[in-house]
């Protein structure tokens, strides 16, 4: 809609620096960081009960995702702090593997998560939270200047962030019935989808699903396996040194032949198999009917019963998402040990929604077609609370930087999982809701959860998302780590003093003196275990700090190897490409390469190398062309 038209027919309700459409995990981070960076910010939610809502599983973190949460924290985001406030079970996954893939995951109290996040937003002085349905963008000369609401009001702003989640064009499927609807029984945002298409944003359909919720009292836990959290809780936020909390258990059970028979008999009734759904679903969240159909030889599938919170009896049945009719759902659940008398309070459903092809976005998450319009979360084709929050944070930071006429924050693939996530989305695109995995990162050893702040807090400070106070604390921590590392490197122990100790622990005896660091490189040695022979007084360090030191020491060789690769890659990332370059004018590029380059418009040679269909020879041609242009310019 044009501003002139708005002025004639709508009521102007305010002018802001930044407007965020949607207050899910992406929108909350975007809104908060914009406010904290000094912007007058307006955060819309179609329903204020949906602020920071967790419409799917009641958990945060896990492999890759837990890394994202740490990175969000290191850059000044809220997710980790809010998670620490509201979790009810905490677990460090992958402890049997190396530290690069240790991953924190918690069970969250959904209601508390929503309440606490809403409180933080309400208390953020520059952020206003409003309940309204945004139905249109106001566009002037290819740039967004505001939004229109359903009640014929409009708000103006310098930048707008879209984080519409599954609300946009939302459609619910349960069995053979389907209707327009948002997540969790909320209203969808239908009009906005039409408006965005009119604005020239091509939308596509993705799909996701969620299992049923049941009442805990209807389940028999005696027939299930108890899953407890860790005894020693590791906080998500670097700002919390320790946390103590009473935890609640989850429960494990399995499907069986009877379950599978019920599902097989009714499989044609599933919305997924009846052909009603056109959206593309993620491969990593198949429904139970999908699992049974695709993995025919698997005679059981596991499911976890997870509490939705402390103030509710509702539990989430993880592993059992389905779009079968309710009666079928009930009968197959009842075949599962412990679920015989299950009382379902919310049926499983599939939801289809509109989202953008992320190739339409710049690396800053700004739309290529509409200036000052930033996009984040499921709207960009991702999936997951953490992926959404990470993009929200970056979109928020970059909207602020755009308004201030500063270069955007673009994290590299060797800087952060956030960098991997965004680069994958905007460079390679995605054909299904995108989930982060540690295997998507080339430099997994560098991108650990223990060192997220070392990697990112300095960058956050430079780009304005990390406060002075937080930064100073970080510097102190960095110094403590450096000092302790130095001490371990320079403290030598004599064979006579420790050989007995070593042999006792099955370690090889020494011939010469050795530094504590060298000793720690032995797989069987830990920081705790060498305390006995570490004569000096040890500094009082937090868990995060010790972990960083130990990982640095133990994996130094491998880490350095990856660092060398990064140096090479970074050189390619430093060679800038003009975003307005028309690749059709470069002779020597293959047709496929020309098309792909014109679509993605990479900002560096490094990014260009990652586009599928661009060969090393194309890159050579491109580099020769750039050199030619450079010399011509002179």
């Amino acid at each position: 809609m044009r501003i002139e038209e708005c002025k004639k027919t709508k009521i102007h309700m305010g002018d802001y620096d930044i407007i965020v459409v949607g207050a899910g995990h992406a929108g909350c981070e975007a809104g908060l960081i914009a406010g904290r960076m000094g912007m007058k910010t307006l955060l819309f939610s179609i329903n204020l009960e949906a602020v920071a809502m967790m419409p799917c599983n009641p958990s945060i973190g896990g492999t890759g995702k837990g890394h994202l949460v740490r990175e969000i924290d290191a850059l000044g985001g809220e997710m980790a702090i809010n998670t620490d406030k509201t979790f009810i079970q905490s677990k460090m996954l992958n402890l049997s593997k190396g530290p690069a893939v240790h991953s924190l995951r918690v069970q969250s109290d959904k209601q508390q998560y929503h309440i606490e996040m809403k409180k933080v937003i309400e208390n953020e002085s520059l952020v206003s939270l409003k309940q309204a349905e945004v139905v249109d963008l106001i566009i002037e000369e290819d740039a967004v200047v505001g939004v229109v609401t359903r009640t014929d009001t409009y708000f103006t702003a310098k930048a707008v962030i879209l984080s519409t989640g599954t609300f946009l064009g939302g459609r619910i499927f349960i069995g053979n019935s389907f209707y327009d609807g948002g997540p969790n029984g909320l209203t969808p945002s239908i009009k906005l989808a039409d408006s965005l298409k009119k604005c020239g944003l091509p939308l596509r359909r993705f799909k996701t699903g969620t299992p049923c919720r049941a009442l805990s009292k209807s389940l028999n836990y005696d027939k299930m396996l108890r899953q407890d959290g860790d005894e020693k809780i590791v906080p998500f936020s670097f700002q919390n040194e320790t946390l103590e909390k009473e935890q609640v258990p989850c429960w494990l059970s399995y499907t069986n032949e009877n379950t599978h028979n019920v599902i097989r008999k009714n499989i044609n009734k599933s919305a997924l198999f009846s052909g009603n759904i056109e959206g593309v679903g993620p491969r990593y969240c198949p429904s139970i009917e999908d699992k049974i159909d695709r993995f025919k030889d698997k005679d059981r599938h596991q499911l976890f019963v997870e509490p939705e919170g402390l103030d509710t009896d509702e539990v989430y049945i993880q592993g059992m998402s389905s779009s079968l009719p309710e009666d079928v759902q009930e009968s197959f659940y009842k075949t599962i040990p412990g679920l015989e008398d299950i009382e379902i309070v919310r049926p499983a459903y599939a939801i289809e929604y509109d989202c953008i092809d992320p190739l339409e976005l710049k690396v800053s998450l700004e739309s290529k077609a509409i200036k000052n319009l930033f996009c984040a979360g499921q709207f960009n084709g991702s999936s997951g609370y953490e992926e959404a929050a990470a993009q929200g944070l970056i979109a928020g930071i970059n909207a602020v930087r755009k308004i201030r006429d500063k270069e955007p924050l673009v994290l590299g693939r060797s800087d952060a999982y956030i960098g991997v996530l965004i680069d994958d989305l905007v460079t390679k695109g995605t054909n299904e809701p995108y989930r982060i995995m540690t295997s998507r990162a080339e430099y997994r050893l560098l991108l650990r959860q223990d060192n997220a702040d070392t990697r990112l807090t300095e960058i956050g400070y430079q780009y304005g998302s990390v406060s002075e106070e937080r930064y100073n604390k970080f510097l102190e921590k960095k110094e403590r780590i450096r000092k302790e590392r130095e001490r371990l490197d320079n403290t030598y122990i004599m064979p006579s003093k420790v050989n007995e100790f070593l042999i006792e622990r099955g370690s090889t005896a020494l011939n010469n003196k050795i530094s504590l660091s060298e000793l720690l490189r032995r797989p069987e040695m830990t920081y705790e275990s060498i305390k006995e022979i570490d004569q000096e007084e040890r500094p009082n360090l937090a868990y995060h700090e010790i972990t960083q030191i130990i990982v640095q020491i133990k994996y130094e060789g491998y880490i350095n190897k990856q660092l060398q690769q990064v140096t090479k890659q970074k050189k390619m990332e430093k060679r800038k490409l003009d975003e307005t370059l028309d690749y059709s004018n470069i002779s020597g590029l293959r047709i496929e390469a020309t098309q792909k380059l014109n679509k993605v418009k990479p900002i560096t040679i490094g990014q260009a190398t990652r586009i599928s269909g661009v060969s090393p020879a194309d890159i050579s041609v491109l580099m020769v062309y750039l050199e030619k242009e450079k010399r011509n310019g002179k």
């Binding site: 599983n57 190396g98 993620p282 699992k291 295997s439 020879a617």
Partner: protein
């Protein structure tokens, strides 16, 4: 800094001297590792030529006596440190030196890469930019054809199989790391170790067969073509005679074309007997004929065999038209029979081709055929396509690096290192093998994870 690259920079088979060129920071170090001068220390003065031997540091075997020159940056062709090793002109010698250089830390140069570096480093003037692009493009196109050629052979299917095995290991590791909560067995180090051992034996077999030329047969590619029953196979057998060196039995080349390697006057020749080219409705035969055409298109020289006892017919003309732009030697066979073929017609159709009359019955003319091949090669009329050698060296280089990577991974497993660290080396080997096949699909592993394992909430 840029990595160090190397390549044979003289056209193969043309002169008595070959030059292996190295460019980049490590050039000088590499030279020092493999170049041994008699009775003097290894002191080099910039731009001076030194006499010595190229010696494999691993077994102290002397590979060739050479002249080496070291040129310091920036006043060199690429504006980087450059080393040039002048060796004997034989393909074997140049290749072995190149292999050694690659094993000592260099990477095989991409097509046109020396010139590209020269331009990017400001050495060439602006007017040459287009020429540089054309060079990269032309060389890549040519190399690409050869890569396709390889892909159709047994070599690539073996590499693909090995890669597939690594992919399964990687998928298992990935699912263990990224889905620790799922109901999926943890991969055991013993099993990975066993798999890696198997894989490495297979890679080693490929490398070994490369050494004796079974798969990477080096030499001039000569294809014998002609319609059926003109005596192609007899000609091939006669040329091979007692000179037969190795019989290749590359799986996948199938019954319809036969490849053999032979040495004529010191020139290694790969001789291909193609299926008779003629019009066919039969599916299997069509396939064979397609292969013949392909072989012929990739050959450096074609020998067209005609039957002197039959009139030139439509089938002959068809073949002549297809091969018109190739280097061709015409053999008119069966001269012991009644002459019906008019040589004039043939001459008119391919005026520049040399015609030799033979009879395989009494071997007459056979010497002339061999001599003609030798002359054409030495006279520079035909030369081996550079891209054959480039690809072969590249593939061998990649195989060796993949094997080393798996060795490293195996060591880590023995040391009981963390799974994600072991994964790095296996993944690296997987990528190296992918480069041989020219595949760049990165989502392979994740695709495999989702297709193999049942995951999800």
């Amino acid at each position: 800094m840029e990595d160090t690259i190397a390549a044979i920079s003289t056209a193969l088979g043309e002169g008595g001297i070959g030059i292996v060129r190295i460019s980049g920071q490590e050039s000088f170090d590499i030279l020092n590792k493999i170049f041994v001068r008699e009775n003097s220390k290894n002191e080099f003065i910039d731009r001076h030529m030194y006499y010595g031997n190229i010696v494999n540091p691993e077994n102290m075997e002397t590979i060739d006596e050479v002249l080496s020159v070291y040129m310091k940056a920036p006043n060199t062709y690429t504006c980087e440190d450059v080393v040039e090793i002048n060796c004997h002109g034989s393909i074997i010698s140049q290749k072995r030196i190149l292999d050694l250089v690659l094993n000592s830390g260099a990477r095989l140069a991409e097509p046109g890469e020396f010139t590209k570096r020269a331009f990017l480093n400001g050495r060439l003037d602006l007017s040459q930019a287009e020429a540089v692009i054309d060079l990269i493009k032309a060389k890549t196109d040519k190399g690409f054809n050869v890569a396709i050629n390889h892909l159709q052979g047994g070599f690539s299917s073996v590499v693909a199989e090995i890669r597939e095995e690594l992919l399964n290991v990687l998928a298992q590791i990935t699912v263990n790391i990224d889905y620790p909560d799922e109901d999926i067995e943890q991969v055991l180090y013993k099993e990975i170790e066993k798999k890696l051992k198997e894989v490495n034996i297979e890679i080693k077999e490929l490398i070994d067969s490369a050494e004796i030329g079974r798969i990477f047969n080096e030499g001039i590619r000569v294809a014998i073509v002609g319609k059926p029953n003109v005596g192609k196979s007899s000609l091939m057998n006669s040329i091979l005679g007692e000179n037969r060196v190795i019989v290749t039995s590359v799986p996948g080349t199938t019954r319809d074309t036969i490849e053999e390697s032979v040495n004529i006057g010191g020139i290694p020749i790969i001789l291909t007997d193609t299926a008779g080219i003629r019009k066919s409705e039969n599916e299997i035969e069509k396939h064979g004929i397609e292969r013949s055409k392909e072989k012929f298109n990739n050959a450096d020289l074609g020998i067209l065999v005609l039957d002197s006892s039959r009139m030139l017919d439509e089938e002959d003309v068809n073949i002549i038209e297809k091969i018109n732009d190739r280097k061709v030697l015409i053999v008119i066979n069966k001269i012991d029979l009644e002459l019906k073929l008019e040589e004039k017609h043939v001459k008119n159709m391919i005026p520049e081709a040399k015609i030799i009359r033979t009879s395989m019955k009494d071997m007459s003319g056979l010497k002339d055929v061999k001599k003609a091949i030798e002359e054409m090669f030495l006279g520079g009329k035909i030369k081996q396509q550079e891209s054959h050698t480039v690809n072969n060296s590249r593939h061998k280089d990649l195989l060796i690096k993949a094997k080393l990577s798996i060795d490293d991974g195996t060591e880590l497993i023995k040391k009981n290192e963390a799974l994600e660290i072991v994964e790095i080396d296996i993944n690296n080997a997987y990528k190296l093998l992918g480069e041989i096949l020219g595949e760049t699909i990165e989502d392979d592993i994740i695709d495999r994870v989702f297709s193999t394992f049942c995951l999800g909430k």
